[in-house]
Symmetry: C2
Subunit: 400 residues, 2 copies
């Protein structure tokens, strides 16, 4: 829902797809050992849901909603055979291009053809075993990076503006992979299982301070990497003030010096915390053009486009028709907490037949409506008379 007349356009964007990942054609055809994989021999499907919560325009959110799943698909294409083979993934793959001119001493083709990836090279005393699951996580992580790179190219050529938080759920081979910057929960048998972790200037303080400490030039001459509990006044020079640097979780006093009068890299608390007084989110796509107000200092180096990927293995649990995965943008979570969401899920689902396919849509709709509230004289109000969300609100309710 486009909310509260904040904008003409919805900065939230969404996407829901079933994507077929087709095996990449090999120059030599498929490896012999990979044949006979059954009906999905040419590839596999994944199910995909994603929400994009845009800011400073909808450009990045619109583009990501149309492209991110294609980047995930592209990353997975190299893994079609590997993920369908129950044996551990090969650590090293054979050459892609045969007989490249850079390798005159290459072994003859005939011998090379018998190479089985996992056994081809002598094992050293150490070889880490890498799981299939962590390959999917790596594919999703790199897909986000490629998505961010594409937005950058588009921004450079088309002036595509803004940035977005992305929350994507990929269902593949029995497991949900939830890549977050955004909030997601699973409700199973009434129990709430968090599928995301919050990324804010506060939760990522030490990473950002560490970067600024190592690369002070990124702060221009206007910011300090130290955190102070409030702004310092010039007349307080020489007094002792509480601070913490990138190594500390606790606080200590330091004597205020000239440099400490600069604005802190991280400033503010909770929803109001900002990086260089500019942005309140630290993970997401886009924002390549974002600069500190009336300055040339770039914000992008402090933002990460890499998501944290959490895995939920559906095959490990029994699920009933009331068990769901809920994805939502800030418009939902800012005014409705986990427990309230779980309550609405239960309430609405029990009022429909378990086999009615509409019941999940009705939950999503109810969550949106309740978070928006009702327009009264004093603005949009929730049932408890608190202010409704002034943000765009998007919700997916996915039966497990």
């Amino acid at each position: 829902v486009i909310n509260a007349g904040k904008s003409q356009h919805n900065e939230d964007q969404a996407c829901c797809e079933v994507v077929f990942v087709e095996r990449r054609p090999s120059p030599r055809g498929r490896l012999p050992s990979r044949e006979g994989g059954g009906e999905l021999d040419g590839g596999f499907y994944f199910h995909y849901w994603a929400l994009f919560d845009g800011h400073a325009g909808s450009g990045a959110a619109v583009m990501a909603s149309k492209r991110l799943h294609l980047h995930i698909c592209e990353q997975l294409r190299d893994l079609v055979d590997i993920l369908q083979d129950p044996s551990p993934p090969p650590i090293c793959l054979p050459h892609e291009a045969r007989a490249s001119p850079a390798e005159p001493s290459q072994v003859p083709l005939a011998e090379d053809d018998e190479e089985v990836p996992n056994n081809a090279v002598p094992r050293f005393h150490l070889e880490k075993e890498v799981s299939h699951e962590s390959l999917v996580i790596g594919a999703i992580e790199n897909a986000f990076k490629h998505m961010d790179d594409q937005i950058e190219r588009e921004w450079a050529s088309q002036r595509l503006s803004g940035g977005c938080c992305a929350l994507a759920a990929v269902y593949l081979m029995g497991k949900f992979y939830v890549a977050n910057a955004g909030e997601a929960i699973i409700i199973r048998n009434g129990e709430i299982i968090p599928m995301s972790r919050e990324f804010t200037p506060e939760t990522e303080r030490q990473r950002l301070q560490f970067l600024a400490f190592l690369r002070p030039e990124l702060l221009g001459k206007e910011f300090t990497h130290l955190e102070f509990p409030r702004r310092i006044q010039p007349k307080e020079l020489g007094k002792k003030m509480l601070y913490r640097d990138q190594n500390m979780n606790g606080w200590a006093y330091k004597k205020i010096e000239e440099d400490d009068l600069k604005f802190p890299l991280i400033y503010g608390e909770g929803k109001k915390a900002r990086v260089m007084a500019t942005i309140g989110v630290t993970r997401g796509l886009g924002d390549h053009d974002l600069r500190v107000f009336s300055s040339n200092i770039q914000i992008k180096p402090f933002l990460s486009c890499f998501p944290e990927v959490k895995v939920y293995d559906l095959t490990q649990y029994e699920h009933c028709p009331d068990d769901v995965l809920v994805l939502g943008t800030d418009g939902l979570w800012d005014v409705t907490n986990d427990k309230e969401v779980a309550g609405v899920v239960m309430e609405v689902l029990t009022s429909y037949e378990p086999n009615d396919p509409c019941r999940y849509t009705m939950v999503a709709q109810e969550l949106v409506v309740r978070s928006r509230g009702v327009l009264k004289e004093r603005g949009w109000r929730l049932a408890n008379d608190k202010l409704g969300s002034g943000d765009d609100i998007s919700v997916f309710v996915i039966p497990l």
Copy 2:
């Protein structure tokens, strides 16, 4: 116990003290609002236990065991009044030195004397509230830093060698502060409560890779910040190999380039994981002289002397005579896990009267003896016939 003839000297060191933190004399005497604090008006006591697990010599461990509590005391001295005052800590303290020549426009002394720290300066729209607890954490963190600096000075002048992991428990005003690099658990009513988190090249991989990525010169020309699941052979150039960089938790394939043939910054698994093939711990004191074997590359920039401090509030729970905090060095934890430790604690404590003060010492002794094992033909063996610890073993068992 000096174990298995590994060394003539015990590289484990320990310290146990009751330390009085005396208020620092103020040039103007105490602030009027702080008077009447009762019997501890001149300061307060803390109880202190610490274990230091040395490597490459016992120099750093010996020095830290004699000095760390004094550094903690020194850091706390500025906080004597503040910690005893139940109101929130002042964010800014008045000038220490009055009428410094750098501040000609200073307000008259009479007016300044009435300054009450927390109210003296106008509040801005934001002011973070900082807890007493986080001041103690900050004091301990900075004490570790000062300890490390002192070891560095000593190393430069006296050739004090080696490094150590430090595990310190401070009991202050009803709370235990456990500063770890080392393992500690609380056993309460048979339940195990971890009071430490493991710091290894593997758990700290992303921090180390991030540093190496931003400061590639720290790697010399011999290491790469990328992680690979095994060493790469020169003849594998151009093949695709699993890797992960500082942004990834998953794994992906990349084409092997010349640079990837360098040795990985983090290499090995579990107990065998090493930073630049040299050291298996990433947090601790000392090691200022540590270099990669037969090279000039320094390890110290990758090590952190800052501990993680966990807090346990004794006043929040009821405790019985069998509830204890167990501190141990690797010699204990390498061969005896949490559950086995909890089992020994229960077993030994129940065999003594609850008011027998020896019973905790007997637990510690039993834990050491069991972890060492018995000398048989095939070396030191545990009760389960596995190899006993070849390391020094130290244990504190502290009744809660």
